[in-house]
Amino acid sequence: MNFESYMGRRVLRLEDARLLTGRALFVDDVELPGMLHVAFLRSDDAHGRIRSIDATAARARRGVLAVYTASDLGDYWRPGPLLVPPPPVPGLIFNAATQVPLARDKIRHCGEPLAMVVAESRYLAEDALEDIVVDVEPLPAVADLEAALLPDAPLVHEQFGSNLAAQVHQRKGDYASAKAAAALVISRRFLYDRGASAAIENRGVVASWDARAGELTVWDTTQAPIPIRNGLAAMLGLGESHVRVIAPFIGGGFGPKIMMFYPEEVLIPWAAMRLGRPVKWIEDRRENFYATTQERGQIHDAELAVSRDGKILGVRDAFLHDTGAYDPYGLTVPINSQCTLLGPYVVPHYDSQFQAVFTNRPIVTPVRGAGRQHGVFVMERLLDLAARDLGIDRVEIRRRNYIQPDAFPYDHEILFQDFRPLVYDSGNYPAALEKAALMIGYEDFVREEQPRLRREGRHVGMGVVSYIEGTGIGPYEGARVTIEPSGMVRVATGVGTQGQGHFTTFAQLVAEQLGVDVASVRVTTGDTRDFNWGTGTFASRGAVVAGSACHAAAAKVRAKVLALAAPLLDAQEGDLELRDGRVAVRGAPERGLTLGELARKANPLRGAVTPGTEPGLEATAYFGPDRGNAASGVHAMRVEVDPETAEVKIIRYIVVHDCGTVINPMVVEAQVQGGVAHGIGNAFYEQLIFDENGQLMNASFMDYLLPTALDVPTVELAHIETPSPLNPLGVKGVGEAGAIPTGAAFAQAVEDALWGTGVEITEIPLSPSRLHQLIAQARGGDR
């Protein structure tokens, strides 16, 4: 090591050589002798009563070993667990209805699994699907969120007597008084529609039961291998230590893979135990559109009360949230929307109520952003409209409302998704805004360039928006660090990795403490055999929580190294340093040992040890933050619109981001770039289009449009660092940052470009066809 520190260092990712040369194991790479293949029969109807399922012909097909329907599961059939109970908000209503392994009496969404075929190959399994005869009595579908709550609406879950999944009201202050005192009240309806996570790797499960050892091994594309292990053990009557769940390399998670006890996760291991042969199921892309969770339809009726100089007096928001056919993930998404709306602003009075609604659509659980984008969209649009009506510059109105850098910790007084009060730990919002505005040349654009372009007949606009991203929530994660006799350092932690670069960033944290080369640190994630306490990768918490645990465990090992080496080297602990894989006296490097030699000495085969010591150079540590922290940022974009064709071209995209202490800037840049691509997709290309019968009309990439590298600009990124006081490293998460405010930025920029046409954008996503319609309506004098 000839540099100061690994913190903030652009270390090339250690895992990339394997990934790029095809030597990384993904679930579909698992090949076991005698392995069988599964295909699921999925419902074509969105809502219906199952009269009968006849699998006789399918079972008789050569190469088919079994066909299971709900009745074949016996006692094993039960609804999945409620993963996230609702937070303790007074007056909350919550109706829990979780997904079932195979639909029994009723179908509640398109694609709900009806039967499982196990065969010698996936080809044969799919042939057998065509043999299964299903008799369904179709029922009218619940599709429109408002119609769903009317008294005579068809019911997704009859036992509740309505389609209300939840009702939550959070308040602070007294909005009515704020409204009465306001110089201006902006009131609008905002729409935000569903998107898929569209990870490059679909889901998959392989299970293998070793009857002699009494051990079940499961490979699963899950973001939460430890809870899966614990749940499967309980369901299958096995000891936790007899179940091993491996989440190997995974091609993207983004949230839906933290959803747990998907029907396939529950059924594949069961089938493997029953049939005595390994069983594999790999989701194909068409299935993914129904079988993997998605988000995020909401309808907001929101109101902003402002003073004459643009200061926010209060916000009132009432919104409907589409939770789909079941609500296993509780209220995480709408609570996020509710909390994130407050953003980086001082909002003295807030009244937010939402109703989560059951519909006959696939289940909604968090997808990158997890509901935050809705809150940001509503607040940023309200501010833009207020700025316009008050004649205040839209960057200035934000400046006037920011929580100031000296106001932290800042308590917003409502409850966040981790059930703790929403308190921001640190941030510097004005600095990010200034930087972003400078980078995109906002002042010159507004003052000189845009008026000139307009005179030339060109429609160029800018969007500058601000957001908070709550990250790094608990409950906890753990890590174990071991120095092996070879000198190699092993790190094991319970979170999984779906491309976040944990193999490198965690190695950096450990290498930093132990003074070794980062390449000598091998990180294992996602294997319950190596580490079995933890919850998973979600909510942008990996670096914060698992990273802090790695740091703490490495610090403990460092302490052991010093304690053991000091007497051996006949020195004081304070005189020793860890450098280049050795522990030695500072200034006299020949008086030292390699860490490997020290590890051997720490584990003698003979002799005596001091009572109370532990063998080896190994330590385990856990980290559970008091609450989540608040990353933040500003996005700025420049677009040009062709009003004849309604095409929108994104010319520049700038992100100024604060994720506290940065471990590896390359990883942060990549997360932001990927998030922005995701956000641009959600703003202008991607929309899961369901008709009024709950039918998905674009279940393939022909028609569900993911932006490509040609559609997404390279993000220009700058950092602000306000370390978090909530963990020893000061880090905050960054996984979702790019995706959160993009819709708001896009709407502001396009509206700015079309200034003069009267077009107002209150919905996301847009498309050229929809924009064309809005322009035509505005011209037709609809406003």
Binding site: Y123, D127, R286, P768, Q773
Partner: protein
């Protein structure tokens, strides 16, 4: 997404291929497979038999004819057509269309014959060959015949191909003197199916007046649509801005675009006029240059 069972043949000669196709009505020819295989994987198409044409080198190749035109073998890959200097010189409209066909990887495998036989209403090549007034050479075990492009596309995914018949080549006449062409397409993303596309060829007389115009749109109906009203609005004019505007308006009477999840009919209509106007401007510019 695994296809159902099928039988697979890989003939070594055209005659063998035609014999197989003639003998088995359930046989489908496999060219680039870029449309057929996904349809089979979706289990939308389930041919009992595939006759793989990829060993038939005799069907691939780009020849310059003595008349100044081109003869392109049906199994010629899109990528070869895209890179061909002969195509750029003798059929610039075709060269201009190629980069819009899907993506490079798909163009490496897809073939011109396959695309024409598939006759997708959103495809570029059917409109191009109609605008170029090309002839298609069709062969079966019963013999060979020629069909003009304008008569080849008979409806939604429907062509003049009879049972057991294959396209073997496409013959493109020499570009007329004093002519210019243009190709415009609008898609959501690069490589997507077109929302609307326009191909235009205009031919000027010695007075620089439009003597012939071929305006063929795609993705606005069941196949390539010849915009006769738009062409009539242009005929005899100098192709000035007013004439182009008139043609762009007249195109509305020639098309009946569907609505789908990507575009309303109104939006497609708007695009058809805008793209027609822009394509005519470009084509006329090139025709004027050629007339010099």
């Amino acid at each position: 997404m695994k296809p159902p069972v099928f039988e697979y043949h890989r003939p070594d000669s055209l005659n063998e291929a035609l014999a197989l196709l003639g003998a088995h009505p359930d046989a489908k020819p496999l060219a680039g497979g870029q449309s057929l295989i996904p349809a089979m994987n979706f289990r939308l198409a389930a041919p009992g038999r595939l006759v793989d044409l990829n060993a038939l080198d005799e069907l691939a190749g780009i020849e310059e004819t003595v008349e100044g035109g081109l003869r392109i073998g049906a199994m010629t890959r899109h990528r070869a057509v895209e890179l061909s200097a002969a195509v750029a010189a003798r059929a610039p409209l075709l060269a201009a269309a190629m980069p819009f066909i899907a993506h490079r990887q798909i163009r490496n495998r897809g073939t011109i014959g396959g695309s024409l036989a598939h006759a997708d209403p959103a495809a570029e090549l059917p409109a191009v060959v109609v605008a170029l007034e090309a002839q298609l050479v069709l062969a079966s075990s019963r013999g060979e015949r020629m069909v003009p492009a304008a008569e080849f596309f008979t409806g939604l995914f429907a062509t003049a191909l009879e049972d057991g018949e294959l396209i073997t080549a496409i013959e493109i006449p020499a570009p007329p003197p004093r002519s210019g062409s243009a190709f415009l397409e609008l898609a959501r993303r690069h490589g997507d199916y077109a929302l609307v596309g326009v191909t235009a060829v205009v031919i000027l007389d010695s007075e620089r007046r439009v003597t012939d115009a071929r305006i063929v749109l795609f993705s606005v109906g069941e196949g390539p649509v010849r915009a006769a009203r738009a062409e009539a609005a242009l005929a005899g004019t100098t192709g000035d801005a007013a004439a182009r505007e008139a043609a762009a308006d007249a195109v509305q009477g020639d098309i009946d675009p569907s609505a789908d999840i990507h575009a309303s009919s109104a939006y497609r209509r708007q695009l058809a006029s805008v793209l027609t106007r822009r394509a005519l401007a470009a084509a006329l510019g090139r025709a004027v240059d050629a007339a010099r």
